[in-house]
């Protein structure tokens, strides 16, 4: 089942803050319980969720489900050419930390919204495949995981959406590309609960030019972007539900 939507979203504040083109394909993988292929511009991620299934003994929690996240990049060849062992080790170190960050953030965000208390001694396995990374990977991975959970029907307390932003020459840019992030003076990542005006689930900033006022501005801008994305998620799921019903009717005929 493939459903594809392309939207341009313009969320204008005092400065222009625009999300890149968003597209989503839900339910591509038949073996997974839920799956979403999610794209912002050129950054694309495929996320599948399997579970709930029985947890391994050493990772079992008797009070709630355990969430495991595995992150894989499709391009695992090192960019450092030649025979420089030191440079290859440095790249491997940087990539390991970046993958750990994505894994930790997705795990904590999903832990905040999935009703893990109703699934004791179980585990949920998220597999995230980074098809292409052109900036804002954290927010794309979190949104893809959220859509995969919605597709799977695993019970959730709420829905969240994530967005990233950065500043270049004192201008705020939403959903930055890799080139923009490299030039940026500061950057931020936020994940908000969609249905509530105030509900920050995850937050992280970087860059030497961060200030208190800038932090609150990032929070407000990404909250608006998350609300827009939340409406999109709702539309994705409604269209998918409609398409599944049509498929069922076709089978009967």
């Amino acid at each position: 089942l493939k459903l594809q939507f392309l939207y341009f979203i313009d969320t204008t504040q005092a400065m222009t803050a625009i999300l890149r083109e968003v597209s989503c394909q839900i339910g591509e993988l038949s073996r997974a319980d839920g799956c979403a292929r999610y794209r912002h511009g050129e950054t694309e991620v495929l996320c599948s969720v399997s579970g709930p299934m029985v947890a391994l003994e050493k990772r079992c929690d008797v009070t709630k489900a355990v969430i495991e996240v595995v992150v894989k990049g499709t391009d695992e060849t090192t960019r450092a050419g030649g025979g420089s062992r030191v440079l290859m080790d440095h790249e491997k170190y940087d990539d390991t930390l970046a993958v750990s960050e994505v894994s930790a953030v997705v795990q904590s965000c999903m832990g905040a919204v999935v009703q893990t208390a109703s699934l004791p001694r179980q585990r949920l396995l998220f597999t995230i495949i980074v098809i292409n990374n052109e900036g804002s990977l954290l927010s794309v991975a979190v949104n893809a995981a959220m859509l995969a959970v919605l597709d799977s029907g695993i019970p959730c307390t709420s829905t969240l959406a994530a967005a990233q932003a950065c500043t270049i020459d004192s201008k705020l840019i939403l959903d930055p590309t890799l080139a923009e992030l490299e030039k940026s003076e500061s950057a931020a990542f936020f994940a908000h609960i969609i249905a509530s005006d105030d509900g920050v689930v995850a937050s992280s900033t970087s860059g030497p030019a961060m200030t208190s006022d800038l932090y609150w501005l990032y929070l407000k801008t990404t909250r608006n972007a998350s609300t827009t994305l939340g409406n999109l998620f709702r539309k994705f799921m409604q269209e998918q539900k409609g398409a599944r019903q049509d498929d069922t009717l076709d089978e009967d005929v």
Partner: protein
């Protein structure tokens, strides 16, 4: 067990003619409290928070004492051991010569590694894969905070352009884990870097040689990050949360630099925070950062024998 009588901390001794009976009663009460705490931790904390207390006897906004000791490892170029309550972390810093990096070939590099000891969380089965991932996540956080505050000038580490530069390796080893690990690891790395003196090196015709008679290179740190982890439970903010309190609703780590400028508010999952709660956390962390800075400077300034660990 009567409701509302949950007491954190040892019960007071009552003076009676026979001293054994109240002692036995106190022991029994303590044992019952422990069982109640372990089985119904959420309820236990709810009762205590209503009285303005926490499970370890502290007030809601009372932090744990911070201890900083520098120069604990004789083999490292710089080292520090930091304790925050029961959380204990040791960090060793070593400089290694490597090819100069950066777009102009004039920068050194800093790498952080964080490992969770197998006995750090005794009593809880430690999944090594999970421990490695957690260690990497903490290492990534520490690295980002050092970059955000520009703690180390990487250009200062370059000995000769396009040839050789210092690579700083900071290895953090978590000896005992009891919550707020991000703070403790960050302070340990900062204290170790402040304690670091790299050996004097001379570069001649692309060959490097040590100059033990010359003065070593200090890292020239002007500002550094200071963190505080807080939590939220039943609408109340808790400062410097323990591991058990983290299980109640996650934590939020606020980072200021040593000049009281906000660097980061790191939140990873758990109970959603409102903007008002975030602002309260930021204000509280700002005032706490000053006392942590004093502890770090006291630890770095004190003369400690090299090789003494405890």
């Amino acid at each position: 067990m009567k409701r509302g009588r949950a007491v954190a901390g040892p019960a007071k001794k009552q003076k009676t003619s026979s001293g054994d009976k109240p002692e036995k009663e106190n022991t029994k009460l303590r044992e019952e409290l422990e069982i109640y705490e372990n089985l119904f931790f959420n309820k236990y904390c709810t009762d205590l928070v209503d009285q303005g207390l926490r499970h370890d006897g502290r007030k809601l906004l009372e932090p744990r004492p911070v201890g900083v000791t520098c120069g604990v490892l004789s083999t490292a170029h710089g080292s520090a051991m930091v304790s925050q309550g029961a959380s204990k972390v040791i960090c060793g810093v070593k400089g290694m010569l490597a090819p100069a990096q950066g777009s102009n070939g004039d920068e050194g590099r800093i790498e952080i590694r964080c490992m969770l000891s197998e006995v750090a969380e005794a009593g809880v089965s430690l999944d090594m894969l999970n421990a490695q991932q957690r260690g990497n996540a903490i290492a990534q956080f520490v690295k980002k905070m050092l970059e955000a505050t520009q703690t180390i000038d990487c250009k200062l580490l370059c000995l000769k352009e396009n040839t050789v530069a210092w690579n700083i390796h900071a290895d953090v080893y978590i000896l005992n884990s009891d919550g707020s690990l991000k703070d403790t690891c960050l302070h340990a790395v900062v204290a170790a870097l402040l304690n670091t003196t790299l050996p004097a090196v001379e570069v001649k015709d692309d060959e490097t040689c040590l100059r033990p008679d010359s003065k070593g290179l200090a890292l020239g740190i002007k500002k550094y990050p200071i963190a505080l982890t807080m939590g939220s439970f039943k609408g109340s903010l808790l400062t410097d949360i323990t591991q058990r309190e983290e299980s109640l609703g996650g934590g939020i780590t606020v980072v200021y630099d040593s000049t009281s400028k906000l660097v980061n508010i790191q939140k990873e999952g758990g109970t959603p925070f409102t903007e008002e709660a975030l602002r309260k956390c930021a204000d509280h962390a700002k005032s706490r950062a000053k006392s942590i800075k004093q502890e770090i400077e006291k630890g770095v300034g004190s003369k400690e024998k090299k090789g003494s660990l405890f």
